[in-house]
Symmetry: C6
Subunit: 271 residues, 6 copies
């Protein structure tokens, strides 16, 4: 079946994913990699953290292992498990173990969502020992120089039960992300959607006014991803207001008053 | 046994299910499908979301895999499991995996009910990678162009513990559904129940006044489905008030005062 | 062993269980069956819902599969499981699957007690598709015309965590049950206990006054079942007050004041 | 090993356990057994419910299967399980199933402590069908005439989460137990401990004054069992105050003031 | 490997562990053993309960099986389990079962911490039947005369969810423990640590003043065990204040003010 | 694969890890080891507890087994498990069991995070018996003289559900840790990062002022580890303010005001 690929193949085959730097983030990522320090990315939904990590992985020529963390993710989901096959148990490495064995970048997206036993694997990997103990197999892996651990979370909607303990946080070099500045965001949207740059510029301007509404009625501002969706539908011939409603209004809120406020801002731009 | 069919056979064998469009929903669904964007449907109980998805799946010629989500639904319920059979473990694809492999539409009804680990499969499938990692088998499936993910929920009775995180919501093109306008609803009820159009019109008028009671005493307004039930029983010869009581009153509330209010509205129309 | 019978044998062998209709309930049940609509019964403890379903199943000549729902009942308890036997796993149908395969009536008593994943099997069975997907076996069963789903609950002691979601409720034709009118209840008690009709009449009169105490001090009024118990013990020669204490007082309350109130009402009738 | 016996052997070998009737409890138990009605016993800790059931089981010549219920007791603990032995799964009947198959008395002590799925086995066994469905084996057992179900609980310390639902309670004939009257209790204590009747009488008098303190500072009054313990230690030569402290004070309370109050009452009798 | 021993070997090989009686505790323990009554010990942390039980077990010549109870300890942890070994399941007795089979003393330390299903094994073992039913193996063990059950808990820090139900408590002969009187505690500390008696006397005096601070700022007073630790370090040559800080201050509290208060009391004695 | 090493090999191969003593901690650790007493370390995140234990293990020539405790860590994670391999179950020792068998130091970092059943293994190991019972294998291991148990926790962010019970705490000799005094911390940072001593001195001065902000807005003060990270990046050529922002600001707080306060303190030193 042609659409099957292995996880590491995925990482190598990709050409350098497009990423437009905003500040010193590329230098900091590269230095952290060179000094074998783990990295923590903070920032809102859809501002480009995942894309940035893909870009850096390709630039550094390392395979990338991405894991979207969630309430039920355990250490075993990261390190691996014995599976029963043909009457025989066989150990299957998880994505973190593969990254350590093969020397790649393991990216744990929204790490605060994961269950607490992931600390058992993060702590020895993030001090000077850089070790990954696999109790089940009895192995103790030393991370090679080209292994790097990257984690991220969104400080905007953490709550008490979901936060990194200081004893875990203080093991990472950290940086904050935000939405890209307008010119950069225009280039991203134009490139991803195929819509003309000037038309994208109008969308990016609109995004700024929609993002200003955050905190009052909106949990999160509109993401770059949604701008790309909107531009894609417009480029496919959908009327602008229809496309904007389906991508910049409905995904952000269920509240009719908020939706109306968003729609008015859109009509003020495109109406 | 003649009443056994496989899941994908189901999808193909059905002729185009009847669906009466109300706005631009068919165009938006089709564009989302063509642009490979995931879709989020919002709307009240029984307003026709499931029917709409069936209709579009048949129109686009794609098999449909529907999953009613619930409190205990996990990622493994969607992706698949190893089952022990004859002393041998065999991998059995879940409905989402089948939709990805076969190029079909996977519809997760009331997705907010599902457990949080479904995000681990939704996130990589809903960004530009369109990947479904199967950690258990070691496969990484790339979704073909004719795969589409559709999810739905009812904004009317979400609560704090049951909502989509912004980081998930902002991955979807979205649209709102409501009950169809009277003429369309009449046609639906007449067609499904076999009752004459004019008698259905009276039922639809009644529905409007019953729906107006929502929020005060009723959690949800009467659904199109219940109107079809009512018309079906009337068409089978049941007295109108008996049929209305069993389909438009008893299923909506256990409260005697509310039931009496509903019954009076019914008698005012049919008494 | 002579007292072992299979579940379906049970359903067929029984002669028509005695049931005394009160209103249009038999007609409504039969029409719902004929129109292939699922049915929801609401009513207090011990008012005869289970007996009514047994009666209708026998009358319609269909096997009956009854399940008492509880806090830990899951979808798999209804649909079936793989069991390991002799080193080989074998699929064993649950009661719902058997009802679908064999064309019978499946009755889920106190359905609100069940766990939430039962909705995954109820939803596709209760819309126009009438499907039962068995993910574990890969089967998708179409319910035959002679399959019917009946569920019940007691609106008297639902609480917030235990109620049917509107999206589930609105899939059912529904009716309310209450205790039978005095003459009918007398006939039931006389027939079941063997006690003379006139002596049963006194018990039924007493029941009316005991039921009037509900809500003040009693969670539930005395059931028809307990009247039958009482009449049975009296018919076996037990003194009336002893029998009434053991069946109409002690099972209803642990509170001494309430017990005394009940006992006084009994003595006023029989003392 | 000589001290191993099978569960049913236990029931048969025992001679009639000593039990001193107080009211009509023996007649009521016997009638419930003869009429095939399930029985509910209510009463405080250590007042003789378990002994009473043993006595009646022996008198009726039926094996007795006693289960102490607790927070984690499930239906499977009562009905049975498949156990893997020698690579082969073998079904092992639980105590309730054995009682149904062999025609015995199953006694569920403190039934309110059990998990809620026990209702799934209690309900069909306690209506006129008297059935025990074993879903795992596919059997449906009809209880023979000499099967009886007895359950008990202590109304003194039920709480909201631990109570029988009315739909379960109203399936039982019920009776209340209390501590035996003084003369009877003396006989019991003398017989069990070997201590002379007159010395037991003093202990029973003391018990009455200790029980009067219940509710103020004591959760439960002193049980007949503890009186037997006390008499046993006195009969073995222990000083009365030491024996009373170890059996009538320390087991009842950890509070020093309460202990002192109890001790003073004891010294007033024996000091 | 020379430091491996079996559990029962442990019990027999030990010479009589040193224990200094304070009151009638040895006589009461022995009488409970002779009369086949279960025993409940109450008392603060580290006051010598475990040592007392070891002493009595050795004196009575019975093997001792000690279990430290905790939140997740279940009945199966006490009775035993089937373990899969070499493709074959084999039953492995738990410590309670071993004590019953071999005729020994089973000591459940801090029994209130255990899960509630332990009552299922405690109840039949603690009434006149003295039975241990092993449902999994189908055995019903009768405890031999030389079996004894001892349980303990600390009344000082019980809370609502963690207490013995009266129906369980009232099955035990009970006694309270406290720290030993000064002369006895001196002898214990001197014997265990090797430090001269007079230097131990100073420590025991100090302990009295530290224990007086309990309840105000300290959850628990200093235990005899910690006095032994302190004397051991002093005897090994550590400066007194260093030893006292590490054993009598740091283990008791994290609060700086409390620590300072303790340290001042220490300096007042030794400074 | 060259970067695989076994757990015990790890412990032996390492040369003496650098550790700069502050007070009597080395003497106390060594005496506790010699006297076979378990040790409890208390102190804030990143102050060097783990490094200290590594240092002492190497100095005493004992293998070190470190376990980062977490919410889901159970006794079995420490003692071992049966694993199914090749159709055969094989016992695999956990890190605690290995330490006992091989005579090493087992270090449970943040022990209060572990589940409560770890007390079942800690208690018998921390009294004079020094035993490790392995119920699953039936072994009872006596700890050899060169086994030592060390545990730690951070008193700064314990909460009610996460604390050591007094009955556990009072089994340990204990000591408090804090950040090292400036000169020592400078040496550590210089040695670990390669940055010149004088430049490190400025960082350590800065740390003192940042730590003074703790309690007001910061959960934890900056750790020595983060100072090392900062010095490492500066030494690699990164601008000082960029390095400080990524290591001394972003890892400590997500709050913009707090970040600004930290940044101002940094600029005051280096700006």
């Amino acid at each position: 079946m042609s659409h099957i690929a292995t996880a590491s193949a995925q990482a190598f085959k990709q050409e350098l994913p497009y990423y437009e730097p905003v500040g010193n983030e590329c230098a900091l990522f590269e230095q952290a990699y060179r000094q074998r320090l783990p990295l923590l990315l903070k920032g809102p939904t859809g501002c480009g953290k995942t894309r940035f990590v893909s870009h850096m992985a390709a630039k550094l020529g390392r395979p990338l292992f991405t894991v979207s963390c969630h309430d039920d993710l355990t250490a075993a989901d990261l390190t691996g498990r014995y599976l029963l096959q043909g009457g025989e148990t066989r150990w299957v490495d998880g994505p973190l173990t593969r990254a350590v064995r093969e020397g790649g970048i393991c990216y744990l997206d929204e790490v605060v969502e994961a269950r607490k036993d992931v600390t058992v694997v993060l702590h020895p990997l993030t001090d000077d020992r850089r070790l990954l103990p696999l109790e089940r197999t009895g192995e103790l892996l030393e991370a090679p120089d080209d292994f790097m651990l990257v984690v991220s979370y969104n400080p905007g909607y953490q709550h008490i039960l979901k936060s990194l303990k200081p004893s875990t946080r203080q093991r990472f070099v950290a940086m904050s992300f935000d939405f890209p500045p307008p010119r950069v965001e225009c280039e991203i949207v134009a490139r991803e959607s195929g819509l003309a740059f000037e038309r994208c510029a109008a969308l990016v301007n609109l995004a700024a006014s929609l993002r200003a509404m955050k905190g009052q009625d909106l949990e999160e501002g509109v993401s770059t991803r949604l701008l790309v969706y909107c531009a894609t539908l417009i480029n496919a011939g959908m009327p602008i207001l229809d496309a904007a409603c389906a991508t910049l209004v409905e995904p952000l809120s269920d509240d009719q008053d908020v939706q109306q406020g968003l729609m008015e801002a859109i009509k003020a731009t495109f109406g």
